[in-house]
């Protein structure tokens, strides 16, 4: 549960600057209004987050005494090939969750920017649906589609491409791209709907002007479409990259990190280390690194979005 469309607008608009004296009552009554939300957030999100950072410097199973080990858990993440590969897998998934959907979305949005489409609500509903459905159910559905005797392989055989058929999720080379493809399916509709909404807001004059200046389709795309979609692209990147970096449900149901370690990702390792092999400190360290990566990626995207133009 994240949804970070937010962070973008947060960055764009300075939040503070007490413009006028707040009306009504003594201003400290504000504390009362935020208190219930802030307390629950502090107790069940923020305090555990700090506690998790603290635990990441220890080794133990969480029941008996924990032993202080300094940065050892972090050194492990940097040096242990399995742990390290989890992050490489997560970055590979970004290609499938973010880059491919955005490429498809840009292509279609550009192609569609001049057509007046009626029934947008229907298309939007269809395009959003994969994003709304529980990832666990999506994983179950795609396990069926990708099963050795599932619809994908039967389809390939039916069209004479039987040599391509394989046990997708059991194949060391293909398991991760297969999971990635599921991510592409989840995200492309969302991204497309976002970019379509954006491209329709670009004033037509800009395209006219570009054409009068003799711009070809590529220049038109670079000079008008891309800058015009800046905010939509930032939102799409933030949503899809965060989803790619987390991705616990899909991995847990579809592959459990297998075959071998071919599809382990950080969030799966957090779960496995904490609740299967009881290495509390290692799990906490993995979780902490994951947060840092997610925050770094979001800051980068937000900065790129603001820097352009």
């Amino acid at each position: 549960m994240s949804l970070s469309s937010v962070s973008v607008t947060a960055g764009g608009r300075p939040t503070s600057s007490p413009r006028k004296r707040a009306p009504g009552e003594p201003r400290s009554i504000g504390y009362l209004y935020i208190l219930p939300a802030a307390l629950i957030y502090a107790a069940f999100v923020f305090a555990p987050f700090l506690h998790s950072i603290y635990l990441s410097f220890f080794d133990g199973n969480g029941i008996t005494r924990m032993e202080f080990v300094g940065l050892a858990n972090y050194v492990d993440i940097a040096t242990n090939p399995t742990l390290r590969s989890a992050f490489f897998h997560a970055f590979e998934l970004i290609v499938f969750y973010s880059l491919i959907p955005i490429a498809i979305g840009l292509l279609l949005a550009t192609a569609l920017h001049r057509s007046r489409i009626r029934g947008v609500a229907f298309y939007r509903t269809a395009l959003f649906l994969p994003y709304v459905i529980a990832p666990t159910a999506i994983a179950v559905i795609w396990r069926w589609i990708l099963a050795p005797r599932g619809p994908l392989n039967s389809f390939l055989e039916a069209v004479g491409l039987g040599f391509l058929a394989r046990p997708w999720l059991g194949d060391f080379t293909w398991a991760l791209p297969s999971v990635g493809m599921v991510g592409t399916w989840i995200m492309f509709g969302l991204v497309l709907a976002l970019l379509l909404a954006g491209v329709q807001k670009i004033p037509n004059d800009l395209y006219e002007a570009a054409r009068l200046d003799g711009a070809g389709p590529w220049m038109e795309f670079r000079a008008v479409t891309l800058p015009g979609l800046r905010y939509e692209l930032v939102v799409a990147l933030v949503l899809t990259m965060t989803a790619a970096l987390r991705n616990f449900d899909i991995i847990y149901v579809m592959t459990s990190g297998g075959p071998g370690n071919a599809t382990v990702v950080p969030s799966y390792l957090v779960y496995q280390q904490a609740f299967k092999v009881a290495q509390i400190g290692a799990a906490a360290a993995m979780g902490t690194v994951l947060v840092l990566v997610i925050i770094a990626v979001n800051l980068l995207v937000a900065r790129a979005g603001r820097g352009e133009r």
Partner: protein, 273 residues
């Protein structure tokens, strides 16, 4: 200058995209109505008549109690989170108090933070206080995450549209609570509905938190029941398909009924500014 050809091509492309989105789901509907117990998986729409599969799965997969558990947890989270988000957003938007910016920044950080970053101590603490294997062990953290987004969302609304109205109410002598409940909240209804839909979808679908918190008990949410059921009957695809549809049905219904609210929430980030 909109040519007919562009428009037709547009419809074709969008229809293709919609079909790709819907295809697997339509496939699952046909699958779920197929003959149970057959390992060979030929989709045959003429055989898709086994409506009894849903009743069988409901029974065999314990979906009754699971759906009930999910409803209890999710509605509690939705109601409480919306109720707490509105006043928080109001205060962050329109009141001035020391530490406001810092507190708000910490809260917004929660939108980005994945559960993975705190699941370990969360579980250890819940167990210490004997709250694990209990509705509250899922409800309370879900509210914590939800209000982070909710306060942000409501603040954005109040900042944009409420200042002048609120000043008018203030001139009329209304205090801050009356201003909120009598003047602003009726206006904020669409925003609150969007929040409720988003909270419902996210928390219904949530898997890691209930998996960790409830695994020592008989309690399970609908996604947990689905995963358990699929694990036990891997190859009985008709049943697994029916179980998937049972799990997603509430969210799909809410989404289709309140599609506008949901898309407004997702598209909002880009609409601003």
């Amino acid at each position: 200058m909109i040519s007919r050809r562009d428009t037709i091509a547009g419809y074709l492309l969008l229809t293709l995209a919609a079909l790709i989105s819907l295809g697997p789901l339509i496939g699952v509907v046909v699958l779920a109505l197929g003959e149970p117990g057959r390992v060979g998986i030929k989709l045959d729409i003429t055989q898709a008549t086994n409506f009894g599969n849903f009743a069988d799965v409901w029974e065999k997969g314990d979906f009754g109690p699971a759906i009930l558990t999910s409803f209890i947890i999710t509605t509690t989270v939705v109601v409480v989170s919306v109720i707490l988000s509105v006043p928080a957003g109001y205060a962050f938007a329109l009141m001035d108090f020391p530490g406001r910016t810092a507190i708000f920044a910490l809260l917004v950080l929660g939108i980005l933070m994945p559960l993975e970053a705190m699941i370990v101590p969360l579980f250890l603490d819940m167990r210490r206080f004997n709250l694990d294997n209990n509705y509250w062990s899922v409800i309370l953290p879900q509210i914590g995450f939800s209000v982070a987004f909710g306060a942000f969302w409501m603040r954005a609304f109040f900042v944009q549209s409420a200042r002048s109205l609120m000043e008018a109410a203030w001139i009329d002598g209304a205090n801050s609570w009356r201003t909120l409940t009598r003047v602003l909240m009726p206006l904020a209804r669409p925003q609150m509905l969007t929040l409720a839909v988003l909270f419902f979808v996210w928390n219904w679908n949530d898997f890691l938190l209930p998996l960790v918190m409830l695994s020592g008990s008989d309690l399970q949410t609908a996604p947990m029941a689905l995963v358990t059921f699929e694990g036990a009957r891997r190859t009985d695809f008709a049943y697994v398909g029916a179980a998937s549809l049972i799990t997603i049905a509430p969210v799909v219904i809410v989404f289709i009924l309140l599609q506008r609210s949901f898309t407004r929430g997702i598209l909002a980030g880009s609409v601003k500014e």
